[in-house]
Amino acid sequence: MAVVLFLAVCWLPSSSHAQSTAEALTSERSVMAEYIYRFITYAEWPAAVFPTAEVPIVIGVVNADDIAAELEQVVRGRLAHNRRLQVRRMAPGDPLTEVHVLFIGREVAPRFFQTAKLISDRPVLTITDLERGVDQISIINFIQVDGRVRFEVNVAVAEKSGVRLSSRLLTVAMRVRPG
């Protein structure tokens, strides 16, 4: 059903919707990558996770190589909280130590959270792009609104993890689940 609608929408305005779709997808991934970087600027971690000033902010990407690729482009040469940023492609079973931000691809996300329940107790900014209507298990979840990338925030999860999000971020969140 969604596919049909998607086709209908894409079909009418464009003659080369396939190419457009591909470009839109790429664009969506790059926006997400950019947003992930910007989320970091609005987030704060407990001081303990950064023993020294040289410790970079590590962004773990699980099962989302396209995102990881985009992220690597985004963070190149940029700082956040005066720290370098480092993208780490990870597998679902990889240890989560020294990871500050974790993006989990759609396919593995439910299972990932089931298998690594303890992750919610760690100060890790978890980000997903699960479809709407699904129970949010990450702190931030990308959603699509009118063809644009928006996001929702689960404050309860954030609080539990120990990552503090700026309230200003919440003003632009699509939806904020109270804690």
């Binding site: 926006v31 947003y35 910007r38 600027t41 644009r148 928006r150 700026s166 200003r168 003003t171 632009v172």
Partner: protein, 625 residues
């Protein structure tokens, strides 16, 4: 307006105070308006910049996460600020991200952003502020608001204007109250000055109410008024004095003029009266020379004697007047009987009374009325009054003489049925040289001195003389009142009028006026004296040596040798050292008397010499040899 203000100190003061207040208020108001303008501008710009910054900060996440809706919601909060008419947020690439405002907003938004700052366009204030986070330009906020400086200044001007009006009103009230302390004393000075000018009343004074310069002014003004008052009074007094003196002088001049006129008339009359008897006398002389008829000669002699007597009377009167006026008349008082005096006087006028066929009635008490008086002079008084009555009464009239004693006063009335006296002229009856009817005086002879003489003689006796008349045609009455003398020693009645015989003496008369000497010699010879006369000093010395006079009358003003020199020569003669020397001269001052005394004279007689004086002098000369 300025001319109106210039006429009053109060208005000037008010003008000065209000002018000062207005200037002060204007300066203050200008400063406040400038301050307000700057303040408004700065505050409003700062406010909008801050607002823009807040919007930028708030909208940074929206820009970060490309959320125009949230940005619009942020901007929508500006509806709470009505002065902000438009707002917008631009992306870093200067493209519009979100906007706020009415339907015309798109037109109002600038095409591009990127600059930072503010600009004023008319009544609009435009502000651009960049949005930065972590050193990264996120976008630009644009605000447009009403810039109501003009409107605000207008309302401010209105407020300031109202405040100024209120201040001026208060200033007027306060100045009116305050200036009274200054202007009131000045105004009172001005008021008094004006009153002084209007009323010429220099006794007015200004009340002093303060001790400041105005007080000094008041004091000075009052002092000046006092000084002016004093001077005005002095001037007035001097004027009054001058006026009085002028009046006095004028009346004196008038009196002099009248006296002069009288004297002229008198001289004319005198000449006439002196001339009148001369023609009959000359005629008589001619008769004496030509006629041998005894009867005719006797008649001529009588006539001549009468005429001569009239002349003698005239001259006597004149001499008396002269003596009285020069104070030389001396009364020889003694105890006299009024009856005798009256009888004597009546005897004098009897021929005239008879000639005019008047009826003379006497009412005199038989009891003696004794007076201390000069019988001769008193007789003269009544003779004059009677003579007057006879003259002024038509022939066949009645003259009534009555006398009575009233306490210590003897009253004599002489009433006639004559022409009477006009009421207006009554007061002048006793004035010298007064003649009421020239024609009557002509026919009867007279100089108009008779009544004046009578009055003066009566007054010398301590009495009074008055005249009454019921008018013209109703006759007149003269009343003489004399004090009755009780202490006087009774003297022989009328003895003084009779020439008393005295021991014969040798008298030498020396005078170049032959007539005077001759007549005087005759008079003295009648008295029984041995008289010699010479007309010059040289012969006088010779005569004196052999004659050895008891007394010598020497004229001082002789030619060749003066009386003084002669006196010395006579005194040099041993035989004449005791001779009484009498100076006869026209000079009668103390200096002249001194000179004659030094020359050796014993007596100093002033011409015209009264024969009585001569006779007395001879009589009193001691018979030393």
């Amino acid at each position: 307006m300025l001319a109106y203000i210039a006429t009053s100190v109060r208005r000037k003061l008010t003008f000065v105070m209000l002018g000062t207040a207005v200037v002060a208020l204007l300066v203050t108001a200008s400063a406040m308006i400038v301050y307000e303008a700057r303040n408004y501008h700065q505050t409003w710009v700062d406010d909008l910049v801050t607002q823009a910054d807040i919007l930028g900060k708030t909208s940074a996440p929206a820009l970060t996460f490309n959320d125009p809706k949230t940005a619009r919601e942020n901007l929508a909060a500006l509806r709470l600020r009505p002065l902000v008419t438009a707002a917008a947020i631009y992306r870093p690439d200067a493209k519009l991200f979100a906007s706020f405002g009415g339907p015309d907003v798109p037109d109002l938004l600038p095409p591009t952003a990127g600059i930072e700052g503010y600009r004023i366009e008319g009544n609009q204030l435009l502000v651009w502020r960049q949005i930065r986070e972590n050193g990264q330009l996120l976008g630009t906020v644009y605000l447009r608001a009403r810039y109501e400086l003009t409107k605000r200044l207008q309302s401010y001007l209105v407020i300031v204007g109202l405040a100024m009006l209120a201040s001026l009103a208060v200033a007027v009230a306060v100045s009116a109250w305050l200036q009274r302390t200054i202007t009131e004393p000045v105004l009172s000075v001005a008021r008094v000055a004006q009153q002084v000018m209007e009323r010429r009343d220099y006794s007015l004074r200004v009340r002093k109410t303060s001790n400041d310069e105005v007080g000094i002014l008041v004091d000075a003004f009052n002092d000046m008024l006092a000084e002016t008052d004093r001077r005005a009074m002095a001037l007035e007094a001097a004027n009054a004095n001058l006026l009085y003196e002028m009046r006095e002088r004028r009346s004196a001049e008038e009196a002099l003029k009248v006296a002069d006129q009288r004297k002229d008339e008198f001289i004319a009359t005198l000449a006439h009266e002196l001339r009148n008897p001369l023609a009959p006398i000359r005629n008589g002389l001619q008769i004496l020379r030509m006629s041998n008829d005894v009867v005719v000669i006797a008649r001529a002699k009588d006539m001549m004697e009468r005429q001569l007597q009239q002349m003698v009377n005239l001259v006597d009167d004149l001499l008396d007047v002269s003596r009285i006026t020069t104070g030389k008349l001396v009364l020889r008082k003694g105890l006299v009987l009024l009856q005798e005096v009256l009888r004597n006087a009546i005897d004098v006028v009897r021929p005239l009374v008879d000639a005019k066929q008047h009826t003379l009635t006497l009412g005199i008490p038989t009891a003696d009325m004794e007076l201390d008086a000069d019988a001769t002079r008193l007789s003269q008084v009544f003779a004059n009054i009677l003579n007057n009555a006879v003259k002024y009464t038509e022939p066949g009239g009645t003259i009534l003489v009555t006398a009575r004693l009233e306490g210590s006063t003897a009253e004599v009335r002489v009433a006639d049925t004559g022409v009477g006296i006009d009421q207006e002229k009554l007061a002048h009856v006793f004035e010298m040289f007064t003649q009421f009817d020239a024609s009557i005086e002509r026919t009867h002879g007279g100089l108009g001195v008779g009544m004046a003489l009578a009055k003066q003689l009566v007054e010398m006796h301590g009495g009074t003389i008055t005249v009454h008349s019921d008018g013209v045609g109703n006759g007149s009455t003269f009343v003489v009142r004399l004090p009755v003398g009780v202490t006087a020693v009774r003297a022989a009645p009328l003895e003084s009028s009779e020439p008393r015989k005295s021991p014969s003496k040798r008298v030498l008369l020396v005078d170049d006026n032959r007539d005077f000497v001759t007549s005087l010699a005759a008079l003295l010879q009648l008295e029984g004296h041995d008289v010699r006369m010479t007309h010059e000093a040289a012969s006088a010395v010779t005569v004196a040596e052999s004659f050895r006079p008891h007394i010598a009358f020497l004229d001082l003003g002789m030619p060749k040798v003066s009386g003084y020199e002669l006196a010395r020569q006579l005194r040099a003669q041993a035989c004449n050292s005791e001779t009484v020397l009498v100076a006869v001269t026209g000079w009668g001052k103390d200096k002249d008397r001194q000179m004659s005394r030094e020359a050796g004279f014993d007596l100093h007689l002033v011409k015209p010499v009264d024969p009585d004086q001569i006779i007395d002098a001879v009589r009193n000369a001691t018979v030393a040899h």
